[in-house]
């Protein structure tokens, strides 16, 4: 069996809702049946076959080739299986995904992995705002799983994050970890302003000293025993986080946000 592959024939002018193209909808269907499914594109419904050339038969292993930044909702509520995106992806990539794996070779838009429950998302490029966040009006962002971004991320990464891990090899925009309830965000590059704004619990692990809010209090330099375990868990990942030189256990600890519960922490490598 080969991966069920969707190769984009033409880039539509309107955004495309890709949420129907998940294994649960595709398993057991022939290529012709899949081609006749419709996707919302702007205010029109377009057959899949008009947008994509379809090949392969393994619906548990989906490939989207020639992807571009208007393909939204790829892997929405994905439950198991694997989706590989070659090119960029639009907004809401992996929204609410329950398990499985999504890999993107390019950049990704807003709200990637928002309200993700479990699974693994890897982005080779950069990601827009609200990575792993809650949808507007909701109180609970990412609840589990792991996100690896090799580029930069936009603002509000991990907003309302509840559990799980976000690994960012590049820089993070403003308000990284804002309103976090728990979980871990690691930033190898630089973090923007208002880091951990209103965070209640959770860990922001930084390689570079950030510009901290005044509502974060210095708790001193410490060697923390959980960090070797955390870095050991990154060993199998295809990232800089897996390198032995990336690991450390000596950190400066800041507690905050004291304007909220103050049980969160910013750990900065020493």
């Amino acid at each position: 069996m080969s991966a069920l592959t969707f190769t984009l024939k033409v880039q539509p002018k309107q955004r495309v809702d890709m949420s129907p193209l998940v294994p649960v909808n595709l398993c057991g269907k022939t290529v012709a049946e899949i081609a006749s499914l419709t996707l919302q594109c702007g205010k029109q419904k377009i057959p899949v076959g008009d947008l994509f050339t379809i090949s392969g038969d393994d619906a548990q292993n989906i490939a989207i080739n020639n992807s571009f930044d208007k393909l939204d909702f790829i892997g929405k509520e994905l439950d198991g299986s694997c989706i590989t995106v070659t090119g960029d992806a639009g907004a809401y990539l992996g929204m609410g995904m329950k398990s499985g794996e999504i890999k993107v070779s390019g950049n990704v838009g807003l709200y990637a992995a928002c309200e993700m429950k479990k699974g693994y998302l890897e982005v080779s490029g950069s990601v827009g705002d609200f990575l792993g966040a809650a949808l507007p009006g909701n109180k609970m962002g990412m609840k589990g799983g792991t996100i690896l971004v090799k580029g930069n991320v936009g603002e509000r990464a991990g907003d309302h994050m509840r559990r799980g891990t976000i690994l960012i090899e590049g820089n993070a925009g403003d308000y990284c970890g804002s309103r976090m309830t728990a979980g871990t965000i690691a930033v190898m590059g630089k973090a923007g302003r208002y880091l951990g704004y209103a965070m209640r619990r959770g860990t922001l692990l930084l390689w570079n000293h950030p510009q901290l809010l005044t509502s974060f209090n210095d708790c001193g330099a410490h060697t923390l025993g959980f960090l070797p375990l955390l870095f050991a868990s990154f060993k199998s990942s295809n990232s800089k986080f897996a390198e032995a030189s990336a690991a450390f256990s000596r950190v400066q600890r800041y507690a905050g946000d004291m304007s909220e519960m103050g049980r969160g922490e910013v750990l900065v490598r020493l």
Partner: protein
């Protein structure tokens, strides 16, 4: 059966089903990991009065521990799951949480989970932090030397307790030397503990007593000073008997440990005052696991 002049009795040790768990204690160095491990497994020689039987499984190389520090694996055995959980939690809280630089991790996987640090977290008074790393939940509890890191749960498994053999010899010194050799050999066998002091018990017991309030009393048939006063199991040349009790995760583990121990005793042999190897049982009616000495040594 006679090995190197030592008679192996045609008898068997009778053992019972127990529940067991394993935990890994790490610390800044092996000295403090061992101190925490010894403290945690202290006063745990017999379920009769201690509530559990516990001991050190083995010393772990830093490469074998979750946090890459020197460590010691300990095992605790109890008659039931509830008792085991209670003993584990109490001992973890009083002996490991308190030990400088220590951290505590699960040492065995099982579908049945029992709390390790799950409830110790409340010592953190709200400052404790949970971390889920690679699917496992850990608690970071702030303490005066930094943080006490503990895994939330460990596994509970079926196990066997009460494997044993008796070493009969000419003098205390000779029997003790033989038992020390046995323990040294048995310590190399994984998944077993010898819970008595130094692994050796000199006060073997029988079931019941003339005093109705006691469940167990001295094994008078093997007491050398009672050779002329009770129905003895000892010949005139036996002046000392010591017992080694073994708890293990499986029958195969205990078989292996008993073989290693008995062989070490027999290696010293009759030339060093060792006369017989025997074993304790209750006629085979109480415990479902029988360890026949001659089969093990065959």
């Amino acid at each position: 059966m006679i090995i190197n002049g030592v008679t192996i009795d045609a008898t068997f040790a009778e053992a019972f089903p127990m529940k067991a768990t394993r935990a890994i204690i790490t610390a800044l160095n092996e000295k403090w990991a061992m101190i925490a491990a010894q403290t945690m497994t202290g006063f745990a020689t017999s379920v009769i009065m201690c509530g559990c039987e516990a001991g050190i499984d083995r010393v772990l190389d830093p490469s074998e521990t979750p946090d890459g520090r020197p460590g010691v694996a300990i095992m605790i055995f109890a008659m039931g799951g509830k008792t085991l959980a209670k003993q584990l939690e109490t001992r973890a809280g009083q002996c490991v949480l308190t030990a400088p630089t220590s951290a505590l991790f699960a040492g065995i996987e099982s579908a049945i989970k029992i709390p390790l640090g799950k409830n110790l977290r409340y010592f953190g008074d709200g400052f404790q932090i949970a971390k889920v790393i690679a699917g496992k939940r850990y608690w970071r509890i702030p303490v005066m030397d930094g943080e006490f890191l503990t895994e939330a749960t460990t596994g509970q498994v079926e196990a066997i307790g009460g494997g044993n053999f008796l070493v009969l010899g000419q003098s205390q010194a000779q029997v003790l030397t033989a038992c020390e050799a046995a323990i040294e050999a048995m310590n190399k066998v994984p998944n077993v503990i010898m819970p008595f002091p130094g692994g050796v018990v000199r006060s073997g017991s029988k079931v019941g007593s003339k005093y109705t309030t006691l469940n167990a009393s001295t094994n008078d048939a093997f007491c050398p000073t009672l050779k002329g006063a009770t129905k003895t199991e000892l010949s005139p040349d036996i002046e000392c008997v010591m017992e080694i009790v073994i708890d293990g995760l499986s029958k195969a583990d205990i078989d292996k440990a008993m073989r290693a121990g008995v062989q070490a005793v027999c290696d010293l042999g009759a030339a060093n005052g060792i006369k017989r190897i025997s074993a304790g049982n209750y006629g085979g009616k109480l415990g479902p696991f029988h360890f026949h000495l001659q089969e093990i040594m065959a």
